[in-house]
């Protein structure tokens, strides 16, 4: 397992916010914003895999894209390999792009159907290197070998391949420029179970061989447990818990993580029938109108008064294990007094 104490931080994300404006009405006035990613901070160490999990709409994909600066972020800072790219413009980003690449969820949509496999894989080489034609062909073959594609298929088109093979093409393209950091956005979600294992094993093998660092975004908690060294759990735009993999799965601290893990059906009838499922009530609130206080307070089975008023800060409960929940903050009892004060204040306001 990866040791975070000795590692070098390759990626540092601080207070990342990605808000999308909502325009409405005849004059297309700005009426609000969707807080897709709201104040997220994390580090990724060189050579490790950070899993980013959460349900649809929690902002995990937006977070992954924002980290690679595929969006102009609202605020925050992003350091990759010693360079601050949060504010960087197009001109400054371009030479940095080769170090950071992405593998997309849908290999059907992310591969141009009119390009052959060899052109798809060599496109990044055309853009960022000055290799000769022979060198490029050689590199394409090398990459196809690395991801387990037959060299003879270099001149075929994406539709001639199966889903798993298409994902291998996407991975080969991401590897073309020898990146250090790859964001894998749900790379296996569109694949069948027997093919998922093939792709995950390939990603792990490439990581060992090339020393890659992954941000692995997925809603599949059991696959993340398999591939990740540390895991961050997102809910409604915020990271609610971040911990080393074994700690997170053995002792989830945040009530949301607990419920999420208990909801995953186990492929074992003995465990499955004995297991206690924590059923959350209702649906995820809209990120355009998140609740006051803790984002999870509307569905939390352990909700307290303070949760509806004060947003919990991330709190380190064990080395490397952060939780943003009032249950664990030392200040809960002090702030309980504070809450009373706020309540008093609110009631006076209402009285006015």
């Amino acid at each position: 397992m990866f040791d975070t104490r000795t590692g070098r931080k390759l990626v540092e994300v601080r207070n990342l916010k990605m808000h999308f404006p909502i325009y409405a009405g005849l004059l297309r006035r700005r009426v609000g914003e969707v807080k897709a990613v709201d104040d997220v901070s994390f580090d990724i160490y060189e050579g490790e895999t950070l899993g980013l999990v959460g349900e649809s709409g929690c902002g995990k994909s937006t977070c992954g894209r924002a980290v690679l600066r595929l969006y102009d972020i609202t605020s925050g800072s992003i350091w990759i390999n010693g360079e601050e790219i949060g504010e960087a413009g197009f001109q400054r980003l371009r030479p940095l792009r080769p170090t950071m690449q992405m593998v997309f969820q849908d290999p059907q949509a992310s591969l141009n159907p009119r390009m052959t496999v060899s052109r798809i894989i060599s496109e990044p080489l055309d853009e960022h290197t000055r290799l000769s034609r022979e060198e490029k062909t050689e590199r394409v073959f090398e990459l196809m070998d690395a991801v387990g594609l037959n060299r003879d298929f270099a001149n075929r088109y994406p539709h001639e391949f199966s889903g798993g093979q298409r994902q291998r093409i996407g991975i080969a393209r991401a590897l073309a420029l020898n990146p250090k950091f790859i964001v894998c956005d749900e790379p296996i979600a569109a694949l069948d179970v027997s093919i998922q294992a093939q792709v995950v094993n390939l990603l792990e093998e490439l990581q060992d061989r090339l020393g890659l660092t992954y941000l692995f975004i997925s809603h599949d908690l059991s696959m993340v447990r398999h591939i990740a060294d540390r895991v961050a759990v997102m809910y409604l735009g915020k990271v609610v818990e971040l911990a080393p993999r074994d700690a997170l799965y053995a002792t989830p601290m945040h009530p949301y993580t607990e419920a999420l893990l208990s909801a995953v059906p186990e492929p074992d009838p003995t465990i499955e029938t004995r297991k206690k499922h924590i059923l959350l009530k209702g649906d995820v609130p809209s990120p355009a109108n998140p609740p006051q206080g803790c984002n999870f307070c509307t569905r939390c089975p352990k909700v307290m008064d303070i949760c509806r008023k004060v947003e919990p800060a991330a709190f380190e409960v064990a080395p490397g294990h952060q939780v943003a929940c009032h249950l664990y903050s030392e200040t809960t009892h002090e702030t309980a007094g504070e809450t009373a004060a706020i309540e008093a204040q609110e009631s006076t306001q209402q009285g006015e």
Binding site: D192, S194, A197, S222, A263, E266, P267, P269, E272, D283
Partner: protein, 330 residues
């Protein structure tokens, strides 16, 4: 012994494709007892959804049932005229699909769609049907059902829409419910809610359920009996605990190993089934799994194994002996 509520025998579903035929379902046979939940698992293209569509008579032309028979409480339903099939659908056989947004009409309110289903099949007047619709929505766990009757599908979340679909499917107390990947499009916490609801409703109504899914975890929690499909055929069939605890077919065993778990042992390396699922044309003359099977031998190339008993209520279609890894002596 009680009579099976649904009985399928040697079902073959074919699609003409250029000058050839593509065989989506290839000789599937099984019975379902009243109140039983049968899980059908397999990967895409294994023929599991096609089996479900054949039962409710919704195979899109040019696809058709090429041979075999489907009996509901003893009477054949596969060769009925279209009108009679339409009467069965929704009345005696209910269905819930993967994507509730495409299954509901966006232009009608939830109430209108429910009342339409109820009045098509049951002799109720508007007011009675309306009351029944409200009761059904309440039963399906939709809060303030009377108010939500006036809402349109887009005003519901994914989980709520699936609850509406369940309410519609159960409107006429069907004898058999076909649930085709009903929780696949949902998030895990919502999936847990829907699974819980389905378990409750099944206890209460006692219908038989065919639960089609690719998710072995879901099957482990809900099914009484499991059928594993591969290449259009049922390759193994057993009670749920027996199947997970004592899988006999090499495909089932490999499939169970490729799925990581959230709480069990964590494997350093995931087991892999090399290769791709087959695309079948015409009647298969060999085992569909042979190309990916670690223990295939010469006979598997020559013959397609039939399902043979391998344990109590447990059968598998394999010539191999799981104990020795070699051919079974039969």
């Amino acid at each position: 012994m009680t009579e099976p509520v649904l009985s399928i025998k040697d079902l073959v579903v074919e699609f003409p494709f250029r000058n050839d035929v593509f065989r989506a379902v290839s000789g599937v046979s099984f019975d379902i007892m009243p109140g039983e939940v049968v899980g059908v698992v397999g990967e895409s293209g294994a023929g599991k959804s096609m089996t479900g569509s054949a039962v409710i008579g919704l195979i899109e032309p040019p696809g058709h049932i090429a041979s075999g028979e489907i009996r509901l409480k003893g009477e054949r339903i596969d060769n009925l005229p279209e009108e009679a099939k339409a009467k069965l659908r929704g009345r005696r056989i209910g269905m819930v699909f993967q994507d509730p947004l495409t299954s509901l009409n966006p232009l009608y309110t939830i109430g209108e769609q429910l009342i339409e289903t109820i009045r098509t099949h049951l002799p109720l007047n508007e007011a009675e049907a309306r009351q029944k619709a409200i009761d059904l929505l309440t039963e399906a766990g939709i809060p303030k059902a009377a108010e939500r009757m006036e809402s349109y599908p887009h005003q519901f979340s994914g989980g709520m829409r699936q609850r509406v679909m369940i309410a519609i499917a159960l409107a006429c107390d069907p004898e058999v419910l076909i649930a085709d990947e009903p929780t696949t499009a949902l998030d895990v916490t919502i999936q847990a809610q829907i699974l819980e609801l389905m378990k409750e409703l099944r206890e209460k109504l006692g219908m038989a359920v065919i639960w089609i899914t690719h998710d072995l975890g879901v099957i482990a929690g809900i099914a009484d009996r499991v059928m594993v499909m591969y290449g259009g055929q049922v390759v193994e069939q057993a009670p749920v605990r027996e199947l997970f605890g004592n899988p006999q077919h090499p495909y089932t065993r490999a499939l169970l190993k490729t799925v990581p778990s959230v709480s069990g042992e964590r494997e350093e390396k995931l087991a892999v089934i090399e290769g791709q699922p087959p695309i079948l044309s015409a009647a298969p003359a060999a085992c569909p799994f042979r190309a990916r099977c670690p223990q295939a031998f010469e006979r598997c190339e020559r013959e397609n194994p039939a399902r043979v008993p391998v344990g109590p209520a447990h059968d598998a279609a394999c010539f191999g002996d799981p104990a020795t890894g070699g051919p079974r002596d039969v």
